[in-house]
């Protein structure tokens, strides 16, 4: 047993840190520190910086730009990014559809899609959930009917994150309705500019526009845009869902959030003393930090298995459950720490966030962030589904 890193790995970490120090744009950093969402240009700018350095898709095959890092290097890279508070790279292209394409796609599909995904030239979104199918994903209703070399797609998708910016969407569609739910599904790549696609914003309770409904009405999609075999889409979908489970714990980012919480607690006062010194609040911070330590070492144990070449099993549902519980708790404590100035709400924060009229900078967005993070126990397989998985697949119940 040994959790230390090799000298090579440590040297690598120093390299990453130095790169970030030099290349992380000040304006993006300021927004991240104030907890304000980035706009499209900012998101892509950071993506581009990493792509140029060759670090935007470490997990990909080397021929398409992957880095062949050890699990330790991946861990240290994530850690260095989180320490510096850089934005995450959007997962829809890089870590969701791309692995499906390079694993199951045709050569043409790889050639066509992987480079623009790598460089951030095209923005992807995910067409999985539908109004009637949330946790029960396989019950989807969007239909694709063959017509010559095309499919005609009809239906609607929902909770489609950042579809308002998207150039492409990857979709699960029913290509056979006469078989069991899982068996008649295909996996299509669809150009968002195709006629018949409309995007309707869904405003969430935090006031943000992050998710959308996507309506597909007689949308013509070339059969060539299908991944793999017809009616085998569920296989690719499941592959995607279980892929890249490392990182779902979000340990490095929660550490950063915890450090920020402590700073806020030092700046806030209670009966004339810093909140940070209050016994009750100290206790809560300590409890959260200890929970996070437990999660970190569980994450490291999973990583250690990966290093040995084992795939993480359903046990890794624990990373999703505990990771999201901690993220939610963190935003809840941050809201509590901020106190009085959590209440003001300023619409259109995106553009005018730094002109916000009242309260300390760190208060901006603390309440919306708390509200927004309630989603984490719902999406990506709700925490109820994750516990079902543990009960069934791990405990055999």
């Amino acid at each position: 047993m040994d959790t230390s890193f090799s000298p090579d790995e440590l040297a690598f970490r120093d390299e990453v840190r130095a790169f970030i120090a030099e290349n992380y744009p000040e304006d993006i950093k300021a927004k991240m520190e104030a907890g304000v969402e980035l706009n499209k240009e900012e998101t892509l700018r950071w993506h581009g910086i990493l792509a140029k350095k060759g670090w935007v898709a470490p997990g990909w095959p080397e021929e398409w730009g992957g880095t062949d890092w050890t699990p330790g290097q991946k861990f240290l890279f994530d850690q260095a990014c989180a320490e510096a508070g850089t934005p995450g790279v959007l997962p829809f292209g890089i870590s969701m559809v791309a692995p499906v394409i390079y694993t199951f796609g045709s050569d043409e599909q790889k050639q066509q899609h992987l480079p623009p995904i790598y460089n951030g030239d095209l923005w992807w979104c995910q067409g999985y959930s539908e109004p009637g199918s949330g946790s029960d994903l396989a019950s989807l209703k969007t239909k694709a009917v063959r017509d010559g070399d095309d499919y005609i797609v009809n239906g609607s998708k929902t909770w489609t994150t950042l579809a308002q910016h998207a150039d492409w969407i990857f979709c699960l569609v029913k290509t056979d309705t006469n078989v069991k739910a899982q068996e008649g599904i295909s996996f299509l790549l669809i150009d968002m500019k195709t006629p018949g696609i409309t995007v309707r914003p869904i405003i969430t309770m935090d006031g943000g526009h992050e998710v959308n409904e996507v309506f597909l009405e007689d949308v013509r999609v070339p059969v060539a845009n299908r991944i793999g075999e017809e009616n085998k889409g569920w296989t690719y979908a499941k592959f995607l869902l279980t892929h890249e489970r490392t990182g779902i714990a979000g340990v490095a980012r929660s550490k950063k959030g915890l450090a920020r919480l402590k700073e806020i607690a030092k700046a806030e006062y209670i009966d004339g003393r810093p909140l940070f010194e209050d016994q009750d609040f100290s206790r809560k911070i300590a409890e959260l930090e200890i929970d996070l330590t437990a999660l970190e070492y569980t994450d490291l144990r999973v990583l250690s298995e990966l290093r040995k070449g084992n795939h993480p099993g359903p046990e890794s549902s624990i990373l999703k459950i505990k990771g999201t519980e901690i993220q939610q708790r963190l935003t809840e404590l941050t809201l509590e720490a901020v106190g009085t100035y959590a209440a003001p709400f300023y619409r259109g924060l995106d553009d005018r966030w730094n002109e916000f009229p009242v309260g300390p900078d760190y208060a901006v967005g603390s309440a919306p962030k708390y509200f927004n993070m309630r989603k984490t126990s719902i999406y990506g397989g709700s925490n109820e589904i994750q516990r079902n998985i543990i009960a069934k697949a791990v405990l055999g119940l």
Binding site: S135, M205, I270, E336, G339, Y341, A342
Partner: protein
């Protein structure tokens, strides 16, 4: 021993319920809170007309002479509708200070408040004071027969609507001393008063209120000079009782909505309300609401007792609704899934209101500590 309501109280409840049904259909509310004004003044006129605004005031002041139970009934129904009219700041807080403070200023202002002509807001919180009601940097200095007020009050709920502000100031003693606190009535348009208005995350309107050499006559003191803290604490405890009732109303709506939703939403071939884990979670929501109702009754009945008993009751109720509101709100969102996250559905709005109620007049931690301290005193 009896927990039932009088016929008059039931009538009052029905009146407020009707008001909510007529004016607070969810979409109507959403559009109203998105306007620049943030409310519909016609609603306020209607509340005045129905006598709701006059309820807690004495008949001498043009009121109906109702008590704490009636305020509870009104607040619970307002809570069910997520009402944004400034009943709480104007009638419970401002009105409460004037009722208990008494004197000529009360005789002068209350009738206007009861008719809805004057709207009050209570500027008590300060940027660094957190929940300590005596932690005041705002000062009022004697100047002949007048006082000159300077300071900055934070997140004053209802300030943008207010015609008159009640403001807690330090007239003597050091920051956080119990003695030396005085409450004044200040005209919202007085020279030196400025208000920066904004919406709050739960759909209300609030403002930063700045006092710059604001001159007010000594007649505008509410209650006693230098002895304002006990008055503020009494009103704060009454405010907690009112917030408990409001929260209880909100929890009722959330619990019912969640149960109904779970009966219709189908996943894996059955209504999600058939999943035992969700059933138990809803049973817990039900219990959280019931226990909150009990505590709301409890604190309401103890508001007239001595300061220690009253304070313990208020703190106990605030702890209960803080925890229950969190549990009910989070569960409602979780069980509604993605829909619970949207601005289009009422669930998120109730959740946000319950979240903010916890931070008003002291959160769970604050009141656990206060309860423990009072119980040993």
């Amino acid at each position: 021993m009896d927990f039932s309501f009088t016929e008059e109280q039931t009538l009052l409840r029905n009146t407020v319920e009707r008001f909510v049904l007529d004016n607070y259909e969810f979409e109507t509310r959403r559009q109203m809170t998105a306007t620049e004004e943030g409310r519909n003044p016609a609603n306020w006129a209607q509340l005045a007309e129905l006598g709701i605004l006059a309820a807690p005031f004495s008949e001498d002041h043009g009121g109906l002479g109702y008590g704490a139970t009636e305020t509870m009934v009104v607040m619970e129904e307002l809570g069910k509708g997520l009402v944004v009219d400034p009943y709480f700041p104007s009638i419970v807080l401002g009105g409460g200070l004037l009722r208990h403070g008494g004197g000529a200023i009360a005789d002068e202002v209350i009738p206007q408040v009861a008719m809805g002509e004057d709207i009050l807001a209570f500027a008590y919180a300060e940027p660094k004071g957190r929940f300590n009601l005596a932690d005041l940097e705002t000062t009022a200095k004697a100047d002949g027969g007048d006082y000159v007020i300077n300071g900055h009050k934070a997140v004053v709920i209802g300030a943008p609507f207010a015609t008159k502000l009640l403001v807690s100031t330090r007239t003597s003693g050091g920051v956080r001393d119990a003695d030396g606190v005085t409450v004044f009535v200040v005209d919202a348009k007085a020279d030196g008063v400025s208000i920066r208005s904004y919406p709050t995350v739960d759909g209300l309107r609030a403002g930063e209120v700045y006092f710059e050499n604001v001159k007010v006559p000594a007649n505008n003191i509410v209650g006693e000079l230098d002895n304002g803290l006990p008055l503020i604490e009494q009103v704060a405890d009454e405010a907690i009782a009112a917030l408990s009732a409001e929260a209880t109303g909100a929890m009722k709506v959330l619990t019912d909505a969640t149960v109904e939703y779970s009966k219709t939403r189908v996943q894996f071939g059955q209504a999600i309300g058939k999943f035992q884990v969700l059933q138990h979670r809803m049973a817990d929501m039900f219990m959280a609401h019931e226990q909150s109702t009990s505590m709301t009754y409890m604190v309401t009945m103890k508001l007239d007792e001595d300061a220690k008993t009253r304070g313990m009751a208020a703190s106990a109720a605030k702890v209960q609704i803080g925890k229950a509101g969190r549990e009910v709100g989070q569960s409602a969102v979780q069980i509604h899934g993605g829909m619970g996250m949207t601005d289009e559905l009422n669930v998120g709005h109730y959740f946000k209101r319950l979240t903010m109620i916890d931070a008003q007049f002291g959160n769970v931690d604050y009141h656990l500590k206060r309860y423990a301290t009072l119980s040993k005193s």
